[in-house]
């Protein structure tokens, strides 16, 4: 009788296997950003209310709609726009403490867990079940978190880089009227990202997956009063839906064929499926479709460049360091499944390599500093997919980690540049584009810290030894060469009738070219931004100055990490790389050893399904080639490009010649999509609307059902006399009938 509240005490499922290690406040890591979101959200609502009130009062004073433009304006004004009134309301002061605070706490907890975990040899993941989420028949989904080496690594990246970017945002966004709202979204994003990486089953991951999509949408369209920004948000959301559809199908297939959705169960049962069979291939392809959407690979990459409409720290956090890598994480997480489907894996690698090259070509001819970085991100994600597709999961994760460092650094650096230009242009009321590299030039004199950190990051992304990108990128390219020599398990697979070794050779070549182009366009970016004469304008030049400590500290930290990040995984078996072994952190190939329990499932699958592979031997020439390629790209840029000859946008056309035109217009892919997808869908919708909806369905509903219901209602309505007695009498008759039937029976 009494309704007892179900107890939701934590039940430790994997305690027996976990041995000595107990995760430290695992739930709190996830919860902290949510708490931050709640606090900042309240502040945001209150701030919006105050702003609304002020807007009303000011518009009634000025008698016009002038006030509206003040409150919601796009990045070109609002970053530094708010008048320095001297009094900062508490709704703007509180998030500056709360948002980075919760992130730092979460990072500290993650680090504490890391130290705890380093002490023990953890073979099985630790699963913490909090409550039963969807208990429906056979479908038993628990709200559970899973802590293993991979999710901890991702948590460290998310909270660590996230904390730095939150700190950067304090400086970058604190003058924006929507600052509390921004911080609330950012915290919410981190919460969902942590759910994504820490979830113990595909549905929980999907919650995070959708949540980060939502936050990405909210943040891309943060300055939603500008239609272009709102459209970019919508584009990201819709394109992601296509990927999510694939993820959902994959989940359904997994449930139908394996009868479970929790990682532990799924990967235990996965080997029961047919090796390279259609089922597991279909599952992997649909999972990959999800990953393609989220991680902006061909053909669903088009949303990411547009996503640069959001504030720059958002681009750094979401569209470079964390969310877009979720696809890579998904593939690594499901490595057991992908190992079962070699053809699908090869396709992943191929798509990644093609994307890497394709995006790199576009990056060559963009003038918007953030667009260059956006295409660079797509390209680097392509590297990661190429790696995980070839079965080099650790290389993919390694590149994910280093990329998070240097790409976040680059984005934040570009943010600092944009910020400085804004302030300058704002001071002189100039309306020039603060993101166009043709308006920059020679900034190293004005922004020394930014220049230094970005230069380090550029060296890292170009793959110059001994910066982070060198190790991770060369590991990927090296893996491709090894695979082409038939020394990877996937070399024995085949796709479209062509052997895996051949594919990998092609992938290696594609990636090498992409790496070369990467070095080139990054060199171009640095040259045009920081070297040559300054093109910002005479008046503006007076106002250029370095950014504040909240922005420079994250830059410095990230630059340091970009420098030393590669030493986490120095493999002494690889020639040339082994020269750096004395400086390696955590011993020989630390990341490989660390992540080994995560990918052991995939290795077991290969062991039982492929022929024994010969001993891997690393040749030294691929590494030399890679070094050469990176340095050559930079040198070529320095030689070919003449920043001193470059003019402002008015003086310099965006492109000269046909090839440049095609590259500048991004191979016309958006236009192509417009032709082959958007317009047909529009046409089809119109046809369906006029013929099926208005004609058929409305005809039936209105004409037959509607009229019929109306007639029925009009006739039956006569029974409704409005007299309570009559109703009572009818009820009594009903009671008599019921009682009578009881008695009769």
């Amino acid at each position: 009788m009494i309704l007892r509240v179900q107890q939701t005490a934590e039940t430790v499922v994997a305690e027996a296997q976990a041995g000595a290690f107990e995760p430290i406040l695992l739930g709190l890591i996830v919860l902290l950003p949510l708490i931050g979101f709640a606090i900042n959200g309240v502040a945001a609502i209150l701030a919006a209310r105050t702003a609304e009130r002020r807007r009303w009062s000011s518009s009634s004073h000025h008698g016009g709609s002038e006030g509206e433009a003040d409150e919601y304006s796009n990045e070109t004004h609002s970053v530094m726009d708010a008048e320095p009134t001297g009094v900062v309301p508490w709704t703007h002061r509180l998030p500056s403490l709360v948002a980075p605070g919760v992130m730092l706490l979460a990072f500290a907890l993650a680090v504490a867990n890391l130290f705890g975990m380093m002490g023990v040899e953890l073979e099985e993941p630790i699963v913490r079940t909090y409550w039963s989420w969807i208990p429906v028949g056979e479908l038993q989904v628990e709200a559970a978190l899973q802590l293993d080496q991979l999710s901890l690594l991702m948590t460290l990246v998310v909270t660590g880089v996230g904390a730095l970017i939150h700190l950067f945002s304090v400086g970058y966004m604190s003058h924006d009227p929507g600052y509390p709202r921004y911080m609330a979204y950012l915290n919410l994003f981190v919460f969902f990202m942590l759910v994504l990486v820490l979830g113990a089953s595909f549905p929980v991951m999907f919650v995070g997956w959708e949540g980060v999509g939502l936050c990405s949408y909210l943040l891309i369209g943060f300055w939603f009063s500008e239609k272009a920004n709102a459209d970019a948000g919508k584009k990201a959301f819709i394109v992601n839906r296509i990927g999510d559809f694939g993820f959902l199908i994959a989940m359904l297939l997994i449930f139908v064929d394996l009868g479970a959705l929790g990682y532990v169960e799924v990967f235990e049962r996965a080997p029961q499926l047919d090796y390279a069979g259609p089922v597991v291939t279909a599952i992997c392809l649909f999972l990959f479709l999800g990953a393609v959407g989220k991680s902006a690979q061909i053909p669903l990459y088009v949303w990411l460049p547009d996503a640069m409409a959001g504030p720059t720290p958002v681009s750094a956090l979401i569209h470079a360091a964390t969310m877009v890598t979720a696809g890579v994480y998904l593939v690594v997480r499901a490595s057991t499944l992908f190992a079962m489907a070699p053809a699908a894996s090869l396709l992943v690698a191929l798509v990644g390599a093609v994307t890497a090259l394709f995006a790199a070509t576009i990056g060559l001819k963009q003038w918007d500093i953030k667009k260059v970085l956006a295409y660079s991100t797509i390209s680097q994600l392509g590297f990661m997919f190429a790696a995980v597709g070839m079965g080099a999961y650790v290389a993919g994760v390694f590149h994910l980690m280093t990329h998070a460092f240097f790409k976040a650094c680059l984005f934040l650096g570009s943010g600092a540049v944009i910020h400085a230009l804004h302030e300058a242009m704002h001071a002189t009321h100039s309306h020039a584009d603060a993101q166009d590299m043709r308006n920059m030039g020679g900034l190293r004199r004005y922004l020394p810290i930014t220049f230094a950190t970005m230069a380090i990051a550029t060296l890292a992304i170009a793959g110059v030894a001994p910066f982070a990108g060198f190790f991770s990128k060369d590991e990927i390219v090296g893996a491709a060469w090894i695979g082409s020599a038939g020394e990877l398990p996937l070399s024995q697979a085949s796709l479209f009738g062509v052997g895996g070794g051949t594919w990998m050779g092609m992938i290696a070549i594609l990636l090498s070219i992409a790496a070369f182009l990467t070095a080139f366009y990054m060199g171009r970016l640095m040259l045009y931004t920081f070297f040559g004469p300054n093109r910002t304008g005479e008046a503006e030049r007076q106002h250029l100055h370095e950014v504040g400590w909240t922005m420079s500290v994250p830059l410095i930290v990230l630059a340091v990490m970009s420098t030393i990040g590669g030493f986490f995984n120095v493999d002494s078996l690889v020639p040339i790389v082994n020269l750096f072994s004395p400086f390696a952190f955590g011993g020989d190939a630390a990341l490989h050893n660390w992540l080994h329990p995560v990918i052991i499932g995939a290795e077991e699958v290969w062991a039982s399904n492929t022929a024994a592979i010969p001993e891997v031997h690393h040749a030294s020439w691929p590494i030399l080639l890679a070094i050469l390629v990176g340095v050559a790209g930079l040198v070529l840029a320095a030689v070919v490009l003449k920043p001193q000859l470059l003019g402002t946008p008015e003086e310099t056309p965006a492109y000269e010649g046909n090839l440049e035109k095609v590259l500048y217009n991004k191979w016309y892919v958006d236009e192509l999509y417009q032709r082959i997808v958007v317009r047909p869908v529009w046409g089809l919708s119109r046809a369906f609307y006029s013929v099926v909806d208005r004609g058929t369905i409305d005809g039936i509903i209105d004409g037959v059902l509607g009229r019929g219901a109306m007639l029925l209602g009009l006739s039956a309505g006569r029974v409704q006399t409005g007299q309570v007695n009559t109703y009572a009498f009818i009820i009594i008759v009903g009671v008599i009938v019921v009682l009578g039937s009881i008695v009769v029976m």
Partner: protein
């Protein structure tokens, strides 16, 4: 112990009288009182059965009384509000919302 059947029959009789009243009267307040009568008839059945079926019956009667009090407060307020418009509590005046 008292005869159970007698109490239950009394409950049935009161209930029947209440229903007859609800059907035949037009004064909203008297209708209301007839409904209270029916509620009480049900209460009597609960109380009469509680020695056999446990104290729960009496607890439910307690709830019924509380709900009846709430119902009376709101119902009478509605009647007063309607009276202000129609100057009458005849339920024929309250049939505007049909159809």
């Amino acid at each position: 112990m008292l005869p159970l059947n007698a109490a239950l029959f009394l409950s049935a009789i009161l209930f029947a009288i209440g229903t007859a009243g609800v059907v035949v009267r037009r004064n909203a307040i008297i209708l209301f009182m007839c409904i209270e009568l029916m509620l009480n008839a049900a209460n009597l059945a609960f109380v009469a059965l509680s020695p056999y079926a446990g104290i729960d019956g009496q607890v439910i009667v307690f709830f019924v009384i509380a709900v009846a009090a709430a119902e009376a407060a709101v119902g009478l307020a509605i009647i007063i509000a309607v009276f202000r418009h129609a100057e009458s509590v005849d339920i024929r005046n309250f049939s505007l919302l049909r159809w």
